[in-house]
């Protein structure tokens, strides 16, 4: 036997579902596959409460196997199929493994003593699936399976009566959407006393999406004189919302009566003949048309479910990650840009400030030394260096040391401040600060050289005597000559006296002149010393500053370079990651695109199953790659 085309398509879809890690879908499809391969037509009877579902099933098989009553009745689904002898089995909680057949939902706690399958007399089935079940079984019956020798069923039909879809005060749900798609034909039961409600329409919509064949049974036509109007309105409503479902008005009461009296006309009147014809047509159509349609639906739905997330994964290739990388790249680029802008600025600041500092220090030192000099000058106006030199020397040394210290201290302060200022104009991330010793200058290079003593000319006794003699000589001679005129000898007391006087004056003059000379010499010595000190000290300071400036510059250059390197590295990494992402996404997208194309192709083939069989039936699903 050649496998029908839908089977291979279904298998392909199952494979794809598995490939996309949708085991749940695959499981459902497999279950469906098994159902499709059996030649039996599964007819699911669904509807709201009190519409006559069970009565419809009873009337179909002409046996009271489904619970019928005025209050909520059917508690568990009843599955009716053909059997040579009437038989009935209640399936209780502990069911064999496998996908839930019907009535899946929150189930009451297991009762350990209950066997799984309990055979019961056929007459009892209706009671056991209703609220009047035996207390031991109440609430634990999951399904009832009934076998009846009926021609209708023998043709290959399985009827499934379900509890109402929604009921107040009951937890157990009726047919859910999952159940719907296990059915080949869904019969929605709605009574003819009022129009289809919105809940029923919703149910109908989900049924047409999952079951290949949907019928509406308009029940209780015997009771409602207006059923033709209602049926007409229902048809209008259905065409309004674009549903194509066949509606069959039926009356279970008439059918049962007809069976009782074997009244063919009444059976015809009941509308069941038409319903049976519809169902039989479905049975015949099952291996081909229905199976195709069913596959088109379930496989189509499964493909759409696979396609949805797949397509979503194309559009957004991990936006968070790439956004993060881009943000990193941006910030790195920003850092580099900052560095570039600040590089010239901090260098200018450094050189400007250093030259300012040099000028200031020079001026300060100059001013201080001049003050010392002035004081030294003033001191030597009166003092005799010969006497006070040692004292002066001490003072001068002291003053100069003090000056040097003060000036150097100021220099240090200023330099530190300068370093800080420069540091501020260098963009230093991570709170990096300047190394402590950067602004330190060696403090041991301070030295004031020994003062060189001036050559002082002391007025020795011999010199004094010589000076006295030289000076007195003139006096003696002058007054001796003068007195010789008066007849006195050249050497006489007067001339001697004059000589003494002249000698004394000579000594005095001489000593005064010498003092002046000494003072000048001392002053010159002091001045020279101070000048020397100034020169050497300035030189030292300048050298120091230059070195420090260089060190500072090197340090900051290093810092900025390392920052830049780091930023570049980050930027590079970010760029690479973005690139890699793009490449990855691209590959993935291409893969997804390929998958999508494959799926679309499959979808089209699956849909072709329907269009080939039933032309102009458009599935409401759009897939575009």
């Amino acid at each position: 036997m050649i496998a029908p085309p839908w089977l291979s398509l279904l298998d392909e879809t199952i494979g794809i579902c598995l490939a996309h890690e949708r085991g749940d879908l695959a499981e459902r499809l497999r279950y469906r596959r098994a159902r499709l391969l059996t030649p039996k037509l599964h007819v699911l009877v669904v509807g709201a409460a009190k519409q006559g579902k069970s009565q419809l099933v009873n009337a179909l098989v002409n046996a009271s196997v489904c619970a019928v009553g005025d209050d909520l009745t059917t508690m568990a689904p009843t599955i009716i199929q053909h059997a040579e002898e009437p038989s009935a089995v209640l399936v209780t909680d502990r069911r064999p493994a496998g996908p839930p057949a019907l009535g899946a939902g929150p189930l009451p706690a297991l009762s350990q003593s209950l066997p799984d399958r309990i055979p019961v007399p056929v007459e009892d089935v209706a009671r056991q699936t209703s609220g009047r079940a035996d207390p031991a079984l109440r609430g634990s019956v999951v399904t009832a399976e009934v076998g009846l020798p009926r021609q209708l069923l023998a043709a290959g039909m399985v009827l499934i009566d379900t509890p109402p879809t929604e009921v107040a005060g009951r937890n157990r749900p009726g047919a859910s959407v999952a159940d719907l798609d296990q059915a080949d034909t869904v019969v929605l039961v709605s009574d003819a006393t009022c129009e289809l409600t919105s809940a029923e329409l919703e149910l109908l919509v989900s049924a047409t999406k999952s079951a290949p064949s949907v019928l509406i049974a308009l029940t209780k036509t015997d009771l409602s004189p207006r059923w033709r109007t209602i049926a007409e309105r229902n048809r209008t409503r259905l065409s309004e919302i674009g549903l194509q479902a066949r509606m069959v008005p039926v009356s279970a009461t008439l059918r049962l009566l007809a069976a009782q009296h074997n009244d063919k006309a009444m059976n015809e009147e009941s509308g069941f003949a038409e319903l049976v014809t519809c169902l039989q047509r479905d049975v015949l159509a099952k291996p081909d048309t229905l199976a195709r349609r069913g596959v088109a639906m379930v496989a189509g739905t499964a493909i759409v479910e696979v396609v949805g997330p797949l397509r979503a994964s194309v559009v957004e290739p991990d936006p968070n990650r790439s956004a993060e990388a881009i943000a990193k790249l941006r910030s790195a680029q920003q850092t580099i840009e900052d560095l570039r802008r600040h590089a010239s600025r901090w260098q200018t600041v450094l050189s400007d400030e250093t030259s300012d500092l040099v000028t200031d220090i020079e001026y300060d030192l100059r001013e201080r030394t001049r003050r010392i000099l002035r004081e030294a000058d003033r001191a030597f106006e009166t003092a005799d260096p010969q006497v006070t030199w040692a004292q002066f020397e001490d003072w001068l040394m002291e003053s100069l040391t003090e000056t040097a210290n003060a000036n150097y201290g100021w220099l240090l302060d200023r330099f530190r401040w300068l370093a800080e200022k420069v540091a501020q104009s260098v963009p230093m991330p991570r709170g990096e600060s300047m190394p402590e010793d950067m602004a330190e200058l060696p403090s041991d290079r301070l030295g004031v050289e020994e003062l060189e003593a001036p050559r002082l000319e002391p007025f020795t006794l011999g010199q004094k005597a010589f000076t006295a003699l030289r000076s007195s000589y003139g006096g003696v001679l002058m007054f001796g000559l003068a007195t010789s005129l008066a007849g006195l000898p050249l050497i006489n007391p007067i001339s001697l006296g004059a000589g003494v006087a002249f000698g004394g004056k000579g000594i005095r003059d001489e000593s005064e002149g010498r003092l002046k000379r000494r003072q000048a010499a001392a002053r010159t010595a002091a001045q020279r010393h101070i000048d020397d000190f100034y020169l050497s000290f300035t030189k030292d300071c300048k050298d120091l500053l230059r070195q420090a400036q260089r060190r500072l510059r090197d340090h900051f250059l290093q810092v900025t370079e390392s920052i830049q390197d780091e930023a570049l590295a980050i930027a590079e990494a970010a760029r690479q990651s973005i690139q890699a992402d793009a490449v990855h996404t691209d590959t993935r997208n291409r893969q997804v695109q390929r998958d999508l194309e494959k799926l679309v192709n499959l979808y089209q083939r699956v849909q072709a199953l329907v269009t080939a069989a039933v032309p102009a039936r458009s599935a409401g699903l759009e897939i575009t790659a």
């Binding site: 209050d71 107040a168 005060g169 809940a199 009461t253």
Partner: protein, 491 residues
């Protein structure tokens, strides 16, 4: 006995005070004046439910004449108010146009309205004045169907709107669905609605269509109603569940002589023969040699009675209900209208003051929320105190918890408590459960015993706190009985 008089006066005083506080706000004043007027009006009872559940039919059945629905041109659904009035008039109130009166005529078929020139809008309100005793006690509001074309969400809004306009609510359903019950549950977060939780009767409408129109459909409906009454989810939302066959009731109330004659003729046909054409509506309408009625009569009968009604009426005629009066009475009795009337009396009319107070307090609460102001703070305090302390509200709350089976009281005590706090009717004898003509002394003794017993229960340490609290409320109700009983003796 007027235990509610005090509550009524308090609420009236509060409304007046609110009017003073909000004198400067025209919107608030209008709102308050509207509610003061409403406070003095007859009770309002709204009929709500899904489409085609028989709201208008039930209105007709309750009034006893075919006055609903007022068919608006274009099939626009509007809410229709039926109130007592000196002469039949129909007035349309619309937001778009001034109120206008529609020309009416009264015929055998009920109310005929000339709707020409009326451009209906969804927000319109049609007020029908109709002289009848039934409407004197309560105004009936026929509301647009809930959830007809719109979804569940819109249905809830509509129900909330209806609940805001009415004092009591009759919710019609063939089988209450879970979503409907949820929508019916008091809106959470509203202190007034929570304090006085229930003002709803669930009506199992179209009881005659149950069980495929079998002759015992109505007793089946009774059983369904009984089950629903004990269902905690249903009991939490409504005070009672009543099955009604509105069509049957209306037909019974307005049984015409010719109809009676037709039904009698039907009953003369042998049972076996009659059964062949009473199987289905189609068969009844179809011509058959056994059919005793002319086609026009059959159409008319089917339209008025429904297939079930015809089956029942012809059976009754066969069983000896041989005058129109007898048959009419029996049909009305079977339709469940009487029970509905009793339930309405018991839960709505007898509790008129409480329901009116509830509506007024809801309005006040809404006002103080939307327009809070310092001068109204006292009002808010009063409102809260009244809600917390008024015994009537405490009774209602206990009733709700009792019906939802959430008190810790043992079952038999719960039943008695329910009776004592007026769950089965608020008059003294019903509360005491005395169903015979009792003398004054007997009644007094019964009350005395009840008070003693409940005092013991309220102090019983074996019961948990919530049960003792419930017993306290019951005790207070019993003491109220005693007080009310003593008063007239003193006078």
């Amino acid at each position: 006995m007027r235990p509610n008089a005090e509550l009524g006066e308090l609420v009236w005083a509060m409304l007046n005070e609110a009017l003073e506080s909000y004198a400067d706000s025209p919107r608030a004043s209008d709102w308050l004046r509207y509610h003061m007027e409403r406070y003095r009006e007859p009770l309002r009872i709204a009929l709500a439910g899904p489409p085609e559940c028989g709201k208008s039919t039930l209105v007709n059945a309750m009034v006893g004449e075919k006055i609903a629905p007022i068919g608006s041109p274009g099939g626009v659904v509007v809410s229709t108010w039926f109130q007592d009035g000196p002469a039949p008039t129909v007035t349309v109130y619309s937001a778009q146009a001034p109120a206008r009166e529609l020309a009416v005529s009264r015929s055998e078929d009920g109310l005929q309205v000339d709707t020409r020139g009326w451009q209906p809008h969804h927000q319109d309100r049609v007020v029908v004045d109709w002289p009848t005793r039934t409407l004197r006690e309560a105004t009936l509001i026929d509301t647009p169907a809930i959830g007809s074309a719109t979804g569940e969400e819109a249905g809830t809004t509509t129900l909330a709107q209806i609940a805001g306009e009415t004092d009591g609510l009759l919710y019609l359903a063939r089988q209450p669905r879970g979503a409907e019950l949820q929508a019916l549950q008091a809106s959470p977060g509203n202190p007034v609605a929570e304090s006085a939780p229930i003002n709803t009767i669930l009506v199992l409408a179209k009881a005659d269509e149950l069980g495929a129109g079998r002759i015992d459909a109505l007793s089946s409906a009774q059983q369904v109603a009984r089950r629903l009454r004990t269902d905690a989810r249903v009991a939490a939302t409504c005070q009672s569940v009543v099955p009604v066959a509105g069509m049957l009731g209306l037909a019974g109330k307005t049984l015409r002589d010719n109809e009676f004659a037709w039904l009698q003729r039907l009953s003369t046909v042998p049972r076996q023969t009659a059964d062949t054409f009473l199987i289905s509506a189609d068969r009844f309408l179809a011509d058959s040699p056994h059919q005793p009625l002319p086609p026009a009569a059959r159409v008319s009968l089917l339209e008025r009675f429904g297939l079930f009604g015809i089956r029942l009426a012809s059976l009754l005629a066969r069983r000896g209900f041989d005058t129109p009066a007898k048959l009419s009475a029996e049909l009305v009795q079977r339709s469940g209208l009487g029970e509905l009337r009793e339930a309405i009396n018991m839960f709505f009319v007898d509790r008129r003051e409480v329901l009116k107070a509830r509506s007024a307090l809801l309005a006040l609460d809404g006002l103080t929320r939307t327009e809070p102001r310092p001068s109204a703070r006292r009002l808010v305090g009063q409102l809260e105190r009244l809600l917390a302390t008024a015994h009537e509200f405490r009774e209602l709350r206990l009733l709700a918890t009792l019906q939802a089976n959430r008190t810790g009281l043992p079952a038999e005590l719960g039943t008695e408590a329910n009776r004592l706090i007026g769950g089965q009717g608020v008059d003294m004898l019903t509360r005491l459960g005395i169903d015979y003509e009792a003398t004054e002394i007997e009644v007094r003794e019964a009350i005395g015993q009840t008070v003693h017993r409940w005092r013991d229960i309220a102090e019983n340490p074996m019961l948990d706190a919530s049960a003792r609290q419930a017993a306290q409320v019951v005790l207070r109700s019993c003491e109220g009985l005693l007080g009310a009983f003593v008063e007239p003796v003193r006078q």
